[in-house]
């Protein structure tokens, strides 16, 4: 188990009524989302994961600044001290 820090976007944290920064013990990203659901409510899973069980195209998750779409998606392994950032997929102008 690794303790990681997760940062949620402010409007989401506010909608869920939780702190923006959370510390969680998990092994990979899929577990992280389950653990977040326990802390923040089951609705969070629907916000992040689509019906096929994949990360929604409207969301980006970064592990230490690297987009997990390039590192194995939800199976991306996590290590002690990793910083996870969840952001809406808003890019370009």
């Amino acid at each position: 188990m690794a303790e990681v820090t997760v940062t949620l976007p402010a409007p989401l944290a506010s909608a869920l009524g939780v702190n923006r920064e959370l510390k969680i013990q998990v092994q990979n990203l899929r577990e992280l989302i389950r653990a977040l659901a326990e802390k923040c409510g089951e609705e969070l899973v629907q916000k992040l994961i689509d019906q096929k069980g994949e990360l929604r195209s409207t969301v980006n998750i970064y592990v230490n600044g690297r987009n997990v779409r390039f590192t194995g998606g939800l199976e991306t392994p996590l290590s002690e001290g990793d910083k996870i950032t969840i952001l809406p997929a808003v890019a370009g102008g």
Partner: protein, 407 residues
Amino acid sequence: MGKISHLECRECHTHYPAERLYFCPKCFGPLDVRYKYDEVKWTRSFFQNAPRNLWRYFDLLPIEDESKVVDIGAGFTPLIKATRLGKALGLKNLYIKNDTVNPTFSFKDRPAGVGVSKALEFGLKSVGCASTGNLAAATAAYAAKAGLRCYIFIPKGVEPEKIAHALIYSPTVIEVNGSYDTANRIAAQAAEAYDIGVVNINLRTYYVEGSKTLGFEIVEQLGWQTPDHIVTPVGSGAMLHAISKGLEELEQIGLIKSSKVKFTAAQGEGCAPIVEAFRKGSDTIEPVEQPKTLAKSLAIGEPGDGIYVLRKLRESGGCAEDVSDLEIVEGIRLLAKTEGIFSEPAGGVVIGALKRLVEDGKVDSDETIICLITGSGLKATDSLTPYLPKPLTAEPELEQIAQIIAR
């Protein structure tokens, strides 16, 4: 009571009040501004005395307090009948929307103007953007005019002309060690951490509205007629989506009969995730981690509006084309030598894509086609120079000039 009715999630259609929201907290979907359309009293004559800039469309732009409008004279750019280019390509009704003549020489003056004005309306003290170059100068110019602090996040590899251009307005320019998508990510984090109005991230809902004025202008300049086909450069896809939204709004208020336009999305090879998805028939976008194209302003590996562009292309019966660096340069040169307009590589992408459409028989010679030329070539001379011939040299003697002329 303001003119905005609400913000609407593009995915789950939840409504929100017009506040500082940039995505749907229910599903992470993007938000669109919806107006009180029945209160818009536009007629064709309404515009006779309107300002000759993008603010002539103020009633359908998301700024409530007119005193907060920051205006540097952007918009209402020429729509030019491209007779010589059309002849070269075998097209009878080809037009160039020349957005190279905006105050910071790209279409980004449109969304940046709306984004910075909205920041002022929200009472923000600082603004910024994540940029491949064009938005940097646009945001910095508006911030200067508004007297706001400005933080610009750019990736490695932006054309030096674009960096110099942004720097002249005295913003803080931060070159992030990574791609555009990396610069975008850190800008998003900084926006929340330091309450910066990053126009294309946490003010995006409002910012993108500026781009729809391109659609308004095209229709107005065609005598309130909708063109058959718009060929547009695509990076994130926000501009294409905004233009389409603008046309739908004109139809909704009854100013045009139909908003139906065929869109073609043009990207550079080496960063064409939308074109790839279109060709595969996919509904999802496979992001590009390391974009590599001469069209750096389009080098967005993970286009925020990609899936919505795919839908628009398919709904409209449009196309998607990606062109090589060489085709980009040929496109820039063809446009310059036939119409006297010097475009940055994104415009070369558009002309290259149009040439392909003609060669593949995907356009009719009678179609009214608009090519969006969205940025000036002076922003990218360094990257174009290797492709250009060297100037001839001569001693100041008439015999030598005669030899050259006789060639």
